[in-house]
């Protein structure tokens, strides 16, 4: 009996370990690469023989990377804020109100969620040049917030449906003003859903590559994923391998932190929209 249980536990331990290795090896590899000394970069060893911060020092000395990092953060934060605000308004309406055209809205969001971004690249490229927002923050914020709106609307409306809205009425009956009822009762209940959605949308904007390389031409608005692809092994580095690896690690850190802090919520958010609609 004991040995059977022991075997089951060992079996699960092995399975869990395999899953964790599956997820982490490519991440550990790029991190290991980023700590390799330029002389040992091409030794093919997984673990660096000589550890160094040189690659990180190198990228933070170039405006090419620091500027891209500022762009990435600024663009993702602004696009996320706008998408979450607009998404919250629409999702509240979808979850709580009866009005004509609700299905049209849901159908349209679904359509946009499925939209191939490459199809928008050529027209947006031309439109943005005419409007003068090509290669600016606005030029990237606009497509990002649009493509993340369906995600925001789905996730938020799934969360909002779960909120016991009657509590609001109860609070008012107990003498709370509408503002108090919102601030003390509804806002705390809605906050987790909004935070989760904001994280998902942020990850979406943070990850984009196609718009970032297509709608920028200089470091004015180029985000890190796009900037990495343009890293060249110029004067300081023969091969950009080390700088690419270091830059890759820098933009992976926030994602890992989000995942570690909000694991449960991210899972709930990702699946809520898709399963419950």
């Amino acid at each position: 009996m004991m040995s059977h249980r022991g075997r089951t536990l060992t079996g699960w331990g092995v399975v869990n370990l395999l899953v964790i290795l599956y997820a982490l090896i490519p991440v550990c590899w790029i991190a290991a690469l980023s700590f390799k000394d330029p002389s040992t970069l091409t030794d093919g060893n997984f673990i660096p023989r000589e550890w160094t911060w040189a690659n990180y020092r190198g990228i933070f000395q170039t405006s090419e990377f620091t500027r891209a990092l500022v762009n990435s953060i600024g663009i993702a934060v602004i696009a996320t804020t706008i998408a979450v605000v607009l998404g919250t308004m629409a999702a509240y309406a979808v979850a709580r109100l009866r009005f004509p055209g609700k299905r049209v809205l849901i159908g349209m969001s679904l359509l946009i969620a499925m939209f191939p971004p490459i199809s928008l690249v050529s027209p947006l490229f031309n439109i943005e040049r005419v409007l003068g927002i090509f290669d600016t923050w606005a030029g990237l914020i606009i497509p990002y917030m649009t493509f993340s709106l369906p995600l925001a609307i789905y996730t938020l409306s799934a969360f909002f449906r779960e909120i016991p809205w009657d509590l609001e009425k109860a609070a008012k009956m107990d003498g709370a003003t509408p503002a108090q009822a919102f601030r003390l009762v509804i806002a705390p209940l809605a906050a987790p859903g909004v935070v989760t959605t904001a994280i998902l949308v942020f990850i979406f904007c943070w990850n984009d590559f196609l718009f970032a390389i297509s709608l920028t031409s200089t470091t004015a608005a180029r985000t890190v994923p796009a900037a990495i692809a343009f890293f060249t092994g110029s004067s300081q580095f023969q091969q950009p391998t080390g700088s690419i690896a270091a830059a890759a690690v820098v933009i992976t850190v926030p994602i890992v932190i989000f995942v570690l802090l909000f694991q449960r919520r991210i899972v709930a958010g990702l699946t809520a929209g898709a399963v419950k609609g």
Partner: protein, 314 residues
């Protein structure tokens, strides 16, 4: 989603109008609903519907970005040029191959992963956290990790291969590695969607099958999977459409060389390397049509319930 459905939805609130006062409330509710949705709708229409219409317009012109003054109307000429070009069919074939293989592998692997997360006796939280990392990581970062891993001399995986082999420079091996990178990145998402479907399978039903003596595989095939069909179809729909748009992984891993480019890579190259806005737009429109066809196929033929398409339960 269809117009008749929208009609009934629209008619519903006024139908049970019991008193004038109540329908006044319903009217206000409608107004508020429309007002709250308006900004999101305006943004979505302005940034997608208008540009796609503009893309169609551009695709009917001969438009070289180096000579914008010489742009002129050519009708369906660009479509003719694309559809008779071997590059388009090659890219389409590669895209379809990558889509079909990676989605099939992801379904099996994702199901296994979902079962692990569902049934694990311990360490569930750790496994879920680990699995979210491939989902969250920037695709370009993951792609570079794979690229360097397979680069001879640099990579730990290339070191395992026979000397002199450079897998990323061979068409078939490179496509295999692109699929590998795609599968690694997106299996967790598939697994999480399937996990949510798995959670909806009633435990009693599975236990009843167990009591009746069904083996694990019988329970999976005959009880769990049929009950999960809606979740599986939604996951497949999302992933198929997503895989069809594959760009980042190919751009980093091979740049589309040696006939490994997808249709998105082809569109990008025509636009930014050849600077041909007309042809590039024609490819954009064709990709849009392919995606629409895939979505139509899933929703109409396989009956995938579009999320949110189910009747509202208010």
């Amino acid at each position: 989603m269809s117009p008749p459905a929208a009609e009934t939805e629209a008619a519903a609130p006024s139908a049970p109008g019991r008193r004038g006062e109540l329908s006044e409330g319903a009217r206000q509710e409608r107004r508020l609903g429309l007002l709250l949705c308006a900004p999101a709708v305006v943004v979505m229409v302005a940034v997608t519907a208008y540009p796609i219409a503009y893309a169609i317009y551009l695709s009917l012109q001969r438009y070289d970005l180096r000579f914008p003054d010489q742009a002129h109307w050519v009708g369906f000429g660009n479509y003719g040029a694309v559809l008779t070009s071997p590059f388009w069919w090659q890219a389409l074939w590669v895209t379809v191959l990558i889509t079909v293989v990676s989605v099939a592998v992801e379904l099996v692997l994702g199901m296994a992963l979902a079962l692990v997360m569902h049934r694990a006796i311990f360490g569930r939280g750790t496994v879920r956290t680990a699995v979210l990392i491939p989902y969250g990581i920037v695709t370009v970062v993951a792609a570079y990790s794979w690229q360097y891993a397979w680069t001879p001399g640099t990579g730990y995986l290339a070191a395992l291969l026979p000397a002199g082999s450079a897998p990323l420079t061979d068409q078939w091996q490179a496509i295999g590695l692109i699929i590998l990178a795609e599968v690694w990145k997106t299996t967790p998402f598939m697994a999480l969607l399937l996990l949510a479907g798995l959670a909806l399978v009633p435990g009693e039903t599975v236990r009843a099958a167990m009591v009746d003596g069904a083996t694990f595989w019988q329970r999976l095939w005959l009880v769990i999977l049929p009950l999960m069909k809606p979740a599986i179809l939604v996951a497949l729909l999302f992933r198929t459409l997503d895989a069809f748009r594959i760009f980042d992984n190919i751009y980093v891993l091979t740049g589309g060389s040696n006939d490994t480019g997808s249709v998105s890579i082809l569109g990008y190259d025509n636009l930014f390397t050849a600077l041909n806005l007309g042809i590039g737009s024609a490819i954009s429109v064709l990709i849009f049509l392919c995606v629409a066809a895939i979505a139509f196929l899933f929703i109409k033929i396989f009956g995938a319930a579009a999320p949110g398409g189910e009747p509202e339960r208010r």
